[in-house]
Symmetry: D3
Subunit: 149 residues, 6 copies
């Protein structure tokens, strides 16, 4: 099986993939990731004096805003109309779990938008908790589902 | 030990930390992360027909550009002058390893800039390899070192 | 009558409204607002040595540019193609009156784009006149008309 | 008294004010404004099923983000390091009241940053409530205090 | 023949051209330009120790990124979906030659996107070579071809 | 004489130059360029029904805005505080002449900011005149002066 990176020309130069002749289709992508935190941090987020509300609200907004600007961050991404970004955050036993769903109708998929949303939410949670937890890591950022119809 | 998230007010509202009274200091942060890839993808990057040059060049630029715009992506980050961003990429046995170093002279640290650089490089590598590898994950994005003097 | 904010989930979390299934329609919105100024400021703008031309030219450009970036400024707005932004500025007896009209063909209305254009024009006029007038206020920013067909 | 708009040259052309020779000083500005809403909207925000939390969280983030980008929105503003943005939102009898405080150490004041923060918060509240209230207006956006030392 | 600048109203005020009633058509534009350099600079780029790879890779990315943001840079440009940006760079006898091709399906042409891509590539090459060459000039930035169907 | 491009590592990878140890100095750069136009276009701009005012006002604003965002457009540029951007436009016998002066106090020069301002003004003039002149070219964009003290 011959495989080639579609973002590189035969000479190995970076390029955008030409999507001009692709049809507009309804597209959806779901990505997930996690911010691994200490138990004390999760407790602060879960039931402490510090309401989790705003940390998660800020992370959700960061994710939505980043998804809309994916083509500015990832050099070879196409600008796409974004029809919705949904961001779910929940506290698991050793991490905050992040899931982002992005939908559009367009000529190319939205997996990078979903992954970018997850990364931005993770970085924002990290930023807001870093004063109390020096050991956090962002883990397992990956695509769960990509579909079109 | 009483701990509070400095990005939240006593009422739990998100806030920027006021850094106006902090001194300007030379600050450095180093972050790392990895894009776990299949062996075939790494082979393509390492010695295949497809030169790794441009994939890594694009990822490096994405990282530098994202570091400079961290305060737009992470809602409560302060805008900072960025004096250098260094990005090292290397191919390990099952992943592309990313390391970013950021330096500034300013009133607050640059760990979010370093982590954002790593995340942007990882997302860009993902974007450029996703046509040939559907199983990649971004792993272990974390701060290695943070210093000031 | 039951009413719910469509930008909040049942749990009260912020969300984008999913517009993927809405039809593309021709949409127009008109918004207005005013910068209340002192008589001396209005005189400077109207017939003084200082030509009003450039103040208004700068405000008009600021309005057009802001309308195009509404989805970056208002977190839950959808990115939309903007087909035209018209900005009318005129000097009334105690204020500069601003009116902005925005048109697109898309899945959601452009009232936020029109309101954002008015706000940006108002802030720009404020910025350019603030050295001579410390008492300005921005007033009555509101939607005049919203239509689709 | 001769007065001239400092943002216009003698020929009436728009210009940035040259601040290169001004000293760095600690500067603060406070601005306020309001979104006039119907009683039902305020009730929804205050004690309804819909928690006010997230509407205000989103508005606060929009304000902070806009303050940091003021020099992109207002053409003749100087880019400034922003050391803190504080945003207070409260429900009054016929409006949501917004107050923003911005501090920096720099060569020019931050009143435009504070006013831009108020405008962005107001537009965001408008956006999130517009599905249930067609009569909102943004009122009385003005500078309350500006100081340096 | 009566001619009028379509970007100015009858009163001479700047305006966006209203494209709402134009059909969506496949559109392409090709622009070119050059960075005139000294022979030593071209030799460095061509066969020296310093690989030209990354200079050109960075310029290509800068061009693609700028093309996508044309409507932010050129005040009266419409935001457009960009379906591809191709950037060709080659070393001629006294200059680096730049050619950019942009395609979209939209209501207005992409010549400004192609010209903006060329300008950004030229400025980036200038930036990367300026330490060794103080005499560079950017020349002959122009539209080669514009078509729709 | 050994010469090396400071934006490339020994391995030829793109990098930002580390300016953390450079002193803050007052810096100024002046750049120029031209948009070559047909006589009819220049006549329209000079004395026609179409006032030149707004074309030049828009170009001037585009130049100022672009100068402030240079570090977003040119990948390896450092973000800098910009203390003033002056833009002079004049009509010569076969072209519109553009000159931009940028000043800052910082660790690195502002020649890229001045050149970027000239390029943005040129592209904007091109955009506003392209409906009446298909033969314009942007010429002789170059640095006139660069100083520090």
């Amino acid at each position: 099986m011959k495989r080639r990176l579609s973002h590189l020309t035969a000479k190995g130069e970076a390029q955008m993939v030409n999507v001009a002749r692709k049809p507009d289709q309804a597209r959806r992508a779901i990505a997930e990731g996690a911010v691994r935190c200490g138990a004390a941090t999760l407790k602060l987020l879960r039931d402490g004096k510090v309401p989790k509300g705003d940390v998660f609200a800020v992370a959700r907004i960061a994710a939505i805003q980043a998804a809309k600007r994916t083509s500015e961050l990832i050099p070879l991404c196409h600008p796409l109309p974004i029809h919705v970004v949904e961001v779910d955050l929940k506290i698991a036993h050793d991490a905050v779990q992040i899931r982002a769903t992005v939908e559009t109708i367009g000529k190319t998929g939205v997996e990078m938008e979903a992954l970018t949303a997850v990364a931005a939410a993770a970085l924002t949670i990290y930023d807001m908790c870093k004063a109390v937890d020096k050991q956090m890591t962002i883990e397992s950022v990956r695509l769960l589902e990509k579909s079109k119809k």
